[in-house]
Symmetry: C2
Subunit: 195 residues, 2 copies
């Protein structure tokens, strides 16, 4: 199973591709940062990122595209451009019938480093360790895209858009999800009994 | 010259098409509201709006696409979806080499009614008058898209994205722009001399 992680942005859009093996081992496939020039107008910049995303999706044919969640309250100067790029990634995936997932930055940091407020160097280091890279992922911005893909590999169902997408899961993923739900229900029951 | 005005939105996206005649008279061509269901996931909703926008652009082959400016400080619950749809409209246009313009809601109200804080009924009424419609534009949401197109017809150059797009102007538009700049320079000089 191929997972494409996307760290959306108008100036720099990270794209990271990983493979999940039969025994859920993760391996590195590709990483890149799509760029657009702040000297171009917004429509031309978006078109350039759009073409880049389409090219990556055609080339790597991911089974799922996982995109960093954009929040309105973040830096208002750039958030609209970031949201537009996230929207383009969603459309590119949906147009190819590829399920789309979203994970927040803190979910990603938590999944990759065990710390929801980890710094960039920690994330880069853990991405390199998890994917057995001999050096830190370059360009540095790309680490977030790989981290997004890793997060989805570790939490494959929680954040998938649209409940009906469960049919896209592999048997192993579905099994994992069922087990996860059982554990959660058990934990919830224990809390309910004051344990 | 054909102008397509777009009032972006994820639930309802207005598309209005007008024609600017040889003597700058405006006439109605088409109006519609693209919709997506809040019950679908965001990627599916965006894909549906994206396909609708592409179909409209193919059908009407506009010379320019004018899109309502999205502001980050507006209703944060919906602004990201609205920005995503605006981004899709920009990419659809840019991919066809169609110049993109943006006008703010208050520019539109001012251009169409003479009042930058006009209410929706006033805008609808003036759109109907300007385009010689025998009744108010329906569906009501569509009036904003037509108003956006009318605004661009009245102010064809001011808000075009990217200075290099001037080459897309018709000779009449270029003449209009040059005259407008002369008037502005004169006014600025007069202010400079304390007049």
């Amino acid at each position: 199973m191929i997972i494409m992680g996307i760290d959306p942005g108008l100036t720099r859009c990270g794209v990271g591709v990983i493979q999940v093996g039969q025994y859920r081992q993760l391996s590195f496939v590709h990483v890149d940062v799509l760029r657009s020039s702040p000297h171009d107008s917004q429509d031309i910049r978006l078109l350039s990122i759009w073409r880049g995303l389409n090219e990556k999706m055609d080339r790597f044919a991911p089974d799922v595209v996982s995109i960093e969640q954009v929040f309105a309250q973040h830096n208002t100067n750039t958030v609209l451009g970031t949201a537009m790029v996230a929207g383009l990634a969603m459309v590119g995936a949906a147009d190819r019938n590829i399920p789309v997932a979203v994970h927040t930055p803190s979910q990603v940091k938590l999944a990759v480093t065990g710390n929801g407020v980890a710094g960039k160097p920690q994330v880069e280091l853990m991405v390199a360790k998890i994917l057995h890279l001999s050096q830190l992922p370059t360009p540095p911005d790309a680490a977030d895209a790989l981290a997004q893909a890793i997060t989805h590999a570790l939490h494959p169902n929680g954040e998938l858009m649209g409940g009906e997408r469960e049919q896209h899961l592999t048997p192993a993923q579905r099994q994992w999800t069922i087990q996860l739900q059982k554990v959660k229900r058990k934990a919830s029951n224990m809390r309910g009994r004051g344990m």
